[in-house]
Symmetry: C2
Subunit: 224 residues, 2 copies
């Protein structure tokens, strides 16, 4: 009855071994070049056994995804402690998020394909990705809450989720960004925030605020 409670049990070791081999391979060779057969072989288990622990290859990518997310939070928190300026705080979350992606740019399209796939746990709609999603939405909420500036009450509660989507779009842009060092993506973030700052006063104008609120409600249903 009591077996694999989670500690160093044999099964958990095997699982961790497969996971580690896969993540290393993802980092070194990307998504496409990492095959389940190679992972199984390097982990010293049979192909079928890898599938016993991870139902699909995409579930292995999600292990990487979670690791990247945790690193994102770890990088963002100290920067959030430095300032209470809204724009600077949002910049901190976007920029640290972008920094986590850097090692993967060569293989970004492969991972992108995995993310979009219907049955993928990485899909924004998938239940498997809810915890990771909640974490980054929470990061944006924290960025907003700790700022000295405040947004209209109609807008504020809808912003964290919308910012998460904006972050996803930034990732999309980044994966297509062919400029050296993906400098353009960094500029996009800066410019986008500058624009947001300039637009802030107008968010209180009713004719702007009302459709914006509806818009945020609509995009809020994505991955609700």
């Amino acid at each position: 009855m009591f077996k694999n409670e989670d500690a160093g049990s044999k099964a958990e070791q095997t699982r961790a071994q497969i996971r580690d081999v896969a993540l290393t391979s993802f980092r070194n060779q990307g998504f496409d070049a990492t095959t389940m057969r190679q992972v199984a072989k390097e982990a010293g288990v049979s192909l079928g056994n890898a599938y016993y622990y991870f139902p699909t290859k995409n579930h292995l990518v999600q292990e990487l995804y979670i690791e990247v997310q945790l690193a994102h939070r770890a990088a963002a928190e100290p920067r959030l402690a430095e300032t209470d300026d809204l724009i600077a705080r949002l910049g901190a979350v976007f920029q640290t998020g972008l920094a986590q992606l850097v090692p993967f740019h060569d293989y970004s399209t492969g991972f992108l394909t995995a993310m979009v796939a219907p049955n993928s746990p990485l899909n924004p709609m998938s239940p498997e990705s809810k915890p990771a999603r909640d974490m980054i939405v929470g990061l944006f909420r924290e960025a907003l809450d700790g700022a000295r500036q405040s947004l209209p009450s109609e807008i504020a509660p809808r912003m964290p989720h919308a910012l998460w989507l904006a972050h996803l779009l930034m990732c999309l842009f980044w994966s297509y960004d062919r400029s050296p060092g993906q400098r353009n993506t960094a500029r996009l973030v800066d410019t986008g925030l500058r624009l947001f700052k300039a637009a802030l006063p107008f968010l209180r104008v009713p004719v702007v605020r009302t459709p914006l609120r509806t818009l945020l409600d609509l995009v809020g249903e994505v991955g609700a």
Copy 2:
């Protein structure tokens, strides 16, 4: 020397046959359920022969893509002739574009995967998709040019390309839209345009206009 000039030559017939079978299957069964083997069999050719005419399965999807694009233009043109109001004209292009997608919603994720794939001709960056891209960018340019309202000169020339990207984002939203009849996507378009209309006067404010211009230049490099 003179052989398959393009008319009813044997080769062109075979190619058309494969194309037609594939497109019908895409419409009826979606991307994933349409296999190259089934297409070849139904077209009465060998598997390898299908690959002689279409280097990848995605190249067959592009044939569908082009057909959808042409239908989009055919649907948009008459509606553009009806009005000279900027917002109404943009709405016409977005709405007719959306209408073309309706039959494919059940399989949208499969097609989405194909579009994002690295080597796919459907990829926004790919040279193969340039003509289709130019067509829809041209459609947006026509919508802007024929409107009685005009945009700041710094913004105007950068808008068609940006609107094409907005259109792509609308397609992305639509593919994740689980509301009945994807009503939410239609509302998103309406609301987005209402917001754009409300924001129009502010586009002339320098502190808004300047970063917006930079932003448009940056996104303009995508699929340049």
